[in-house]
């Protein structure tokens, strides 16, 4: 009897040890299959990046930083090599450039770039842990052009997921999708990134209109196209299919290229506003708006203060509310905004995205709150600052998000086509945006001393004796597409042969 008791005690102790040590140990999850979407109910894809109980970063990420995690594949293995800015299989430059190396577009003609055309980046979207001068960057800071009056963007930490959704999206290069109203939380320090549920680059709903399409089923044979008398040195164009009109050719051209654009198009010269301006048919779409989520001040019609930050609202300005609490606009107010008969009050909340969402939710009045696709014209959040930066100077900024007709060359990532809104207009357009001049990841463009953006000063002090501060760090190429001021020359002056846009 005693032996049985003793045996029982031994067994119980061993069991106790086993239970204790089992509880101590933490089982791992693991993953198989691709990590970027198409998850099923039986997926094991989560374990590629997440750990339920042993994560070391917010959002249960098991990596200490995203850059090293993402570049485990996107550093040369898979086709989109964002470390070196080249398409893995062919070496062609990536649309977004690269974070550490990139093709110097001023030296690139076509095909596989020669070794001399590839160099170190001279500027980049400095994500966390990107090695800069051998030192991992913090990724923290505030984006340029983010501090308009009212709601500012950042500071925050820039990560790969600031712009890309690793779980997949409907967009090109899995850029983040827009969400419906009320999901954007400005300056939320707990969020992993700046850009949350904002606008996006997207495919065409009814190609060829704006945006981009990956539908290549109707790509025609390659025939050099001529638009406006200027040969189009791109590899996909049609002159034989549609009768040869430049606009039609441009439209077909769009259809065969995977590109993303600002979502800008021209509408009629009559109603609602006779200005030859543009409007975004769906404000939740468009690459310019995507960039302007952080770089708010740069989404502008033209360089004058107090103008709207976008041609989306040609003459009318957004009537802000005195508080940040969503309120109600009367139908008369909304109409007046559209017709431009109300001069805005440039209150801090006039830049509030929340307020903006409220307004568009009420436009037209028949549209309910939360509807993401109200009618146009849309009011994009933000206005040119009355006073910006040191000395409260009104800034003049290069217009984006606008049409550009009769261009000397095809614009990179331009929205091309015809007015899709009907209204009887067949106005052709070429609209450019942020990505016409800038890379998203990094650029190897040269920034020689004459083109430095830093150290700017004026000879004559402004009234009051205030010097204008530097716009950016010295030697920074500002993610520009071409070296020095090549982006200016390509539009504002013809110099030599027309450069070839990127192939991808």
């Amino acid at each position: 009897m005693k032996r049985f008791k003793l045996l029982g005690m031994v067994i119980a102790t061993v069991a106790l040890i086993a239970v204790g040590l089992t509880a101590w140990a933490t089982p791992t999850a693991s993953a198989n299959g691709g990590p970027h979407g198409n998850f099923t109910l039986t997926t094991s894809g989560c374990g590629g990046c997440h750990r339920a109980h042993t994560a070391i970063s917010p959002y249960l990420i098991k990596a200490e930083n995203q850059y090293q995690l993402c570049t485990s594949c996107h550093g040369g293995l898979v086709s989109t090599d964002v470390v070196h800015g080249q398409f893995g299989s062919t070496g062609a430059p990536l649309n977004g450039g690269g974070f550490e190396q990139a093709v110097r577009m001023s030296d690139f003609i076509s095909g596989t770039p020669a070794a001399g055309a590839v160099g170190p980046v001279t500027s980049s979207h400095t994500v966390a842990d990107l090695p800069v001068g051998g030192v991992p960057a913090s990724g923290s800071g505030s984006p340029w052009g983010s501090t308009t009056s009212g709601v500012a963007t950042g500071p925050g930490t820039l990560e790969c997921t600031s712009c890309h959704n690793p779980h997949g999206s409907t967009n090109y290069r899995i850029l983040r999708d827009a969400a419906t109203t009320a999901k954007w939380i400005p300056n939320d320090a707990n969020l992993l990134n700046w850009v949350n549920y904002q606008v996006l680059a997207t495919t065409d709903d009814n190609p060829p209109v704006y945006g981009f399409t990956l539908d290549t089923s109707n790509c025609p044979a390659s025939v050099p196209a001529v638009i406006g008398g200027t040969p189009r040195p791109v590899n996909t164009a049609v002159s034989s299919l549609v009768g040869g009109t430049p606009a039609a050719q441009a439209g077909i051209y769009i259809k065969c290229k995977a590109r993303y654009t600002s979502g800008v198009f021209a509408y009629t010269t009559t109603t609602p506003v006779a200005r030859g301006a543009t409007a975004v048919p769906n404000v939740l779409k468009g690459m310019n708006a995507f960039c302007a989520t952080c770089h708010k001040s740069y989404l502008t019609i033209t360089g004058s203060a107090q103008n709207f930050n976008s041609q989306n609202t040609p003459t009318a300005q957004f009537l802000g509310l005195p508080t940040n609490v969503p309120g109600t606009f009367t139908a008369a107010q909304l109409t007046a905004v559209a017709l431009g008969t109300i001069v805005p009050t440039n209150t801090p909340t006039s830049n509030s995205y929340q307020t903006y969402l409220t307004a568009i939710a009420q436009w037209p009045p028949a549209v309910g709150v939360g509807t993401p696709t109200p009618g146009y014209p849309f009011v994009y959040p933000g206005t040119q600052d009355l006073g910006d930066g040191a000395g409260s100077l009104a800034r003049y900024r290069h217009a984006v998000d606008r049409t550009h007709n009769g261009g000397k060359q095809p614009l990179r990532f331009a929205a091309l086509g015809n007015d899709p809104t009907g209204g009887g207009s067949s106005l052709a357009y070429a609209a450019f945006g942020c990505l016409t001049c800038h890379f998203a990841h990094g650029s190897a463009a040269a920034a020689t001393p004459a083109a430095l953006t830093g150290g700017f000063a004026i000879a004559t002090p402004t009234p009051g004796g205030i010097a204008i501060p530097a716009d950016g760090p010295a030697g920074d190429s500002s993610l520009l597409f071409y070296s020095n001021r090549g982006v200016c020359i390509t539009c504002h002056q013809s110099v030599g042969p027309v450069p070839t846009p990127t192939a991808y």
């Binding site: 791992t28 691709g34 590629g48 293995l77 398409f87």
Partner: protein, 341 residues
């Protein structure tokens, strides 16, 4: 006198014995807990049941030392005599660094007329002849060097205009296996190309066979990377969807389990030695060891953990085995670590 009325002759002694036994058992429990705690602090894998409970601890490698430094090393290979170590860099000079077995640098092997912006060496392997084969992702070619890193030639598959090699293995007969992930988007009205496959090449580039295709199933490939050939001439291919194993004729055999403690999340490198397959699990920062002597592999053990210290990895990539020594490209720690088994 009934049983119940019977009294033990020495009641105090029995009570002391029981207490002593209880105390001994409790001490045993505390000792076991302490041992396990020590194992955890030494960097033993946190995952899974510990070895003390019977999971196999046989052949569990131990950390030896950091042999050499390299810029974000991707691939690693060892010469047949064990005297040369070759490491492909993913940063800095983007060269193939040649070290001796003590970790001293001998040479930086680079293809002629290139600079650090024009080359990207990735997978590499050493043939029984001593020649070193290096897949260059940017140049889209396989460079061939001699044992001391002197450039010799370029290996191209016969009759193939363009390719995109990523990883390489050489079997004992000298047959060269090259993994490819070639993608050409639609352009000029031509259909796109998506070619993820394995080449078997003779040293002169003659194609013995190719197998594999891009896909999301167990038997297809998704960016095949580094690979190894085992003693049964099976080809173990690390790709972004796991480790896929094929017969030499290209017949798909199985995929290493991707779930559980012995599952591979993202395999970076794979190596064969001493009847075992070693796989670097990049995002779990560890190496898994499988017994490959039978038809079905059997998980043996795992080693390594996340960190900067000795015996720790940060995104381990390539792996090579020579005798009892395991060489691991500790990518984001910028070094080559050796372990012994």
């Amino acid at each position: 006198m009934t049983y119940l009325e019977q009294q033990p002759p020495y009641p105090d002694r029995d009570r002391r014995r029981r207490l002593a036994l209880l105390g001994a058992l409790f001490a045993l429990f505390l000792a076991a807990l302490g041992v396990f705690t020590l194992l955890i602090r030494q960097g033993a894998p946190r995952a899974g049941l510990p070895d003390v409970l019977g999971a196999s601890s046989k052949g569990k490698p131990t950390f030896e030392r950091t042999l050499a430094a390299a810029g974000r090393p991707w691939g690693v290979a060892v010469s047949p005599d064990g005297k040369r170590l070759y490491v492909s860099e993913g940063a800095g000079a983007y060269a193939v660094k040649v070290f001796d077995n003590k970790g001293s640098s001998i040479a930086d092997a680079t293809p002629p007329n290139t600079n650090e912006y024009g080359r990207l060496p990735m997978g590499l392997a050493v043939a029984p002849s001593g020649l070193v084969y290096v897949a260059d992702r940017k140049l889209r070619q396989v460079d061939v060097y001699d044992a001391d890193g002197a450039f010799k030639d370029v290996l191209r598959p016969a009759g193939v205009d363009d390719w995109a090699p990523t990883g390489i293995a050489v079997d004992s007969s000298g047959l060269i296996y090259v993994s490819e992930a070639y993608e050409l988007p639609v352009a000029d009205g031509q259909p796109g190309i998506e070619r993820h496959r394995i080449y078997e090449l003779q040293p002169d580039g003659a194609i013995v066979r190719t197998f594999g295709e891009k896909g999301g199933t167990e038997s297809t490939l998704m960016y095949p990377n580094q690979l190894a050939v085992d003693g049964k001439d099976r080809v173990w291919v690390a790709d972004t969807a796991g480790v896929k194993v094929f017969q030499q004729d290209g017949t798909f055999l199985f995929r290493l389990r991707g779930e559980g403690d012995d599952g591979v999340t993202l395999p970076g490198g794979v190596a064969y030695g001493d009847g075992k397959i070693f796989v670097t699990d990049v995002t779990n920062h560890r190496v898994l060891v499988f017994d490959a002597s039978a038809d079905a592999p059997k998980f043996v053990t795992q080693f390594g953990d996340l960190g900067f210290g000795k015996g720790q990895f940060r995104y381990p990539a390539g792996i090579a085995v020579s005798g009892s020594r395991i060489y691991i490209a500790n990518r984001e720690n910028g070094r080559i670590d050796t372990w012994t088994q």
